[in-house]
């Protein structure tokens, strides 16, 4: 075998090792091979496309490339297809053999071949060599001569084989290089995706640990909110069920929710599904609020809101909000449970106190609750307090620094007011009067208040006082909102008597007038009650009854005549007054 000249090989090697794109490299390979074989005037470089299982022309010399690229040879089709199929080089030196080899070409491929040839319809001779790599044929190089049927020799074929071997290495090398580049790109993308996922996970995990630590140390809403704010760096707030703000950050940005926000369809959905929603604000659609419900065991407790503005909400934030809401819910439920437990304990303590029986254990409980035996106590009874009324009451007690115990019952609220034992009598009275004044001033509070006694064992007495005051408050027609037992005067004694007893006394003293009124449809009883009420002042009595003073004189005379009493006689006038007070007490409504 003769070798191609060394300078030719060197040029070829230089070509295939040059850093060019694959298309250029393939064109250079073909051009160099043709240049190295003087008799070769034209040629093709085919590569096999495994997807379509066809030979595709990748480089041409001496043919119109635009047309040639349309050629797609099947295995065994034409000269190059035959070389590909058999993996053996061939040299064809006569026209009839050439035409015979090309006769099985498809009509399209033959048409493209003929249309693309610039030197003649068919060549006089050709050599074709497979590109073999690792027992695979990856393509074919075919060189043509259009002028001399004997031009391409065996030596040219061998030279082309050497070039083909080198070209195969170059092509495979190039393919491997491209594969590595693609894999590197994939690795880069994978690494980048992994990094992003890791960052997201890390943020979530970090936050998770922060919150766990806070929860473990018993921290509550402010600390949880603070940790959340540090992580999400956007305004956040916690609201109760009625959207009253409980806490928010940053402190200088007061949270603002749109009007009627609770009625917003998305909020309705949050309430129904107990799942978070992102709500785009109507007044500024570049702003949105992420509302995450704070859900207890079976009910909604409140809302965690975050103002996201224009910035993209990271998905980790969403998880962080959900986790924060869960921890807030746990904290709230825990506090609620503690409160309920305290309430139960207070309830038990309260019941024991009301029984009036003191023992060591009860005194110990009282000390825990801040109640000392030497302190003074008064009981207040109220209708069940609304949220605002309770807030108002707590505010009064806080301002006056008065310690108290509040127990909610289904039909009323009971409060034991504690006045410190170290105060002297004047200070005690002053503080208690101040409390009564403040309570009277507040238009939301309605209360019956018992007297103040020293010692826990007397609380039951104050409770009875307060109960009697409440009875009076609940009487129809009563205009008062607050009754202190100490202000009741003679009514205190009426309240201790049965109704029958009082009516009997009333009849003993005033029956003649009552009967006269019934028989004559007169107004003597009303006249007498007014006369008593205005402490025998004639002018005030006539004005209140809207009658002439002569009429009043006549009626008073008639009353004295019927009763057989004289109003100038002290004891008799006292009896009449007492009976009138009873009349007012029993029949005021």
């Amino acid at each position: 075998m003769e070798h191609p000249p060394i300078h030719s090989l060197m040029r070829f090697m230089k070509t295939i090792m040059s850093p060019v794109h694959e298309e250029q490299m393939l064109q250079l390979i073909l051009q160099t091979a043709i240049d190295s074989i003087p008799a070769a005037g034209a040629g093709f470089l085919f590569l096999h496309d495994p997807l379509i299982n066809k030979l595709i022309i990748q480089a041409t010399v001496g043919y119109l490339p635009a047309v040639m690229t349309m050629t797609r040879l099947s295995s065994g089709e034409g000269i190059s297809g035959k070389v590909f199929a058999e993996r053996m080089p061939i040299r064809i030196n006569n026209l009839s053999e050439l035409q015979s080899a090309m006769s099985n070409m498809s009509a399209f491929n033959y048409k493209y071949y003929v249309e693309s040839s610039t030197q003649g319809e068919t060549p006089c001779c050709c050599i074709s060599v497979p590109l073999l790599s690792d027992n695979r044929c990856i393509g074919v190089i075919t060189l043509d001569n259009f002028t001399d049927s004997q031009a391409l020799t065996e030596h040219d074929l061998q030279t082309l084989q050497i070039y083909c071997d080198l070209a195969t290495i170059a092509i495979e090398h190039h393919r491997l290089f491209r594969q590595v580049q693609e894999q590197n790109h994939e690795l880069f993308l994978t690494h980048d995706a992994l990094r992003q996922e890791h960052e997201r996970l890390q943020i979530t995990m970090d936050f998770h640990n922060q919150i766990n630590n806070l929860a473990a140390k018993g921290y509550g809403t402010p600390e949880i909110l603070s940790a959340l704010y540090r992580n999400v760096k956007m305004p956040i707030a916690v609201f109760d069920l009625l959207l009253t703000p409980i806490d928010y950050l940053p402190a200088e940005v007061t949270p603002h929710l749109p009007d009627q926000f609770l009625q917003h369809p998305a909020m309705q959905w949050v309430q129904r599904s107990k799942k978070w929603q992102r709500i785009v604000l109507e007044e500024d659609n570049s702003q949105s609020i992420i509302v995450t419900p704070i859900v207890g065991t079976d009910r909604l407790l409140g809302y965690l809101c975050a103002w996201t503005g224009n910035q993209e909400v990271m998905s980790t934030n969403k998880m962080i909000f959900e986790y924060s809401a869960t921890v807030l819910a746990l904290d709230w439920v825990k506090k609620e449970a503690v409160q309920q437990s305290q309430m139960r304990a207070k309830d038990v303590f309260f019941e024991s106190i009301l029984s009036g029986e003191m023992n060591m254990s009860l005194q110990e409980q009282a000390r825990v609750l801040g109640f000392e035996q030497e302190d003074h106590y008064a009981v207040m009874l109220m209708q069940p307090l609304s949220v605002t009324a309770r807030h108002s009451f707590e505010s009064i007690m806080s301002q006056l620094h008065i310690h108290y115990l509040l127990v909610e019952r289904h039909h009323h609220t009971i409060i034991i007011v504690n006045i410190a034992g170290h105060l002297n009598k004047e200070e005690r009275q002053s503080q208690f009067q101040l409390l009564l004044r403040e309570l009277r001033r507040d238009r939301q509070l309605s209360s019956g208040i018992g007297r103040m006694y020293q010692g826990l064992d007397k609380v039951s007495r104050s409770y009875k006082d307060a109960e009697q005051c409440m009875q009076l408050l609940l009487k129809e027609g009563n205009q008062q909102r607050l009754i202190y037992f100490g202000d009741l005067g003679v009514i205190r004694f009426f309240m201790q008597q049965s109704r029958e007893e009082l009516e009997e006394y009333l009849n003993d003293v005033l029956e003649p007038i009552i009967q006269y009124d019934q028989q004559k449809k007169a107004n003597l009883m009303i006249t007498l009650v007014s006369f008593v009420k205005y402490d025998r002042n004639l002018k005030n009595t006539t004005q209140s009854l809207n009658i002439h003073h002569n009429t009043l004189y006549y009626r008073l005379g008639r009353i004295q005549e019927l009763l057989g009493y004289s109003f100038d006689h002290g004891d008799e006038w006292f009896n009449v007054r007492m009976a009138c007070q009873i009349y007012l007490y029993l029949y005021e409504e």
Partner: protein, 239 residues
């Protein structure tokens, strides 16, 4: 003159409850998906398959916009988890949806909204994800998983069909059968396996029939066809 076909069917409630599979072939790296439902023309709504970036399947109380939007996000290079999060962030009705996303790496993320009807859930495996709601029983998804994992030596489209059949045999959509879809993507812009049965008493068997009947034309000549289209030449008739 239009022809009116009588129907005794009740109005559909637009609960596109479905059982579906999304997957990637580890060898060919092709993405594919298949679904079946007692809902007409289920394939018109989902799945969305991109040959290079992944798959998004959405069902339940269907929001078909999630599919194209999900593909858009996948094309930005986002991972399945991130795409799913973004889709859910943007959809106020997220709890009504069931969404499965597969990214370019074959990783899956899935979400089954709490408002979907039982039996519901999803299963994530190695380069595949199964999801279903309003299923006849708890065995549907495991049956699909087993069928998909057993058939590793066949084409992705055939594995997807096998999974769909197994799901149907295990009970499928508890309301019955009506429609099915099978999609595998290979080249951007050139549909590869893209078959639908919109209304049929046996939609999965019909889908299988369509696939095998037309495989030689549409599947086996696919790349040949793509190549000729790219070159602007006609595809020669085989034989």
């Amino acid at each position: 003159m239009p022809i009116f076909y009588p129907t005794d069917r009740p109005l559909a409630d637009f609960k596109c409850n479905t059982f579906a599979i999304i997957a990637r072939c580890p060898q060919t790296k092709r993405f594919g998906a298949a679904a079946a439902s007692k809902f007409p023309g289920v394939g018109a709504f989902s799945p969305c398959v991109d040959p290079e970036y992944g798959v998004v399947a959405t069902q339940g109380w269907m929001n078909p916009a999630l599919g194209p939007r999900g593909i858009e996000l996948l094309r930005q290079g986002l991972t399945a988890n991130k795409v799913l999060d973004d889709l859910l962030m943007e959809d106020p009705g997220r709890d009504l949806r069931q969404v499965a996303v597969m990214d370019r790496f074959g990783h899956c993320a899935a979400f089954t909204g709490s408002e979907n009807d039982d039996v519901k859930g999803h299963l994530i495996g190695d380069q595949f994800c199964l999801s279903g709601n309003l299923l006849a029983n708890e065995d549907v998804l495991p049956a699909m998983k087993q069928a998909f994992e057993q058939n590793t030596d066949i084409e992705l489209a055939e594995r997807l069909l096998a999974a769909l059949k197994a799901g149907s045999d295990a009970g499928g959509d508890r309301r019955g059968k009506q429609a099915s879809v099978l999609k595998v993507a290979a080249t951007p812009g050139f549909p590869y396996v893209d078959f639908r049965v919109d209304d049929h008493p046996e939609p999965i068997l019909e889908l299988e029939r369509i696939y095998y009947s037309n495989r030689s034309v549409l599947i086996e000549q696919y790349y040949d066809w793509v190549d000729t289209v790219m070159k602007g030449i006609p595809l020669e008739k085989k034989g």
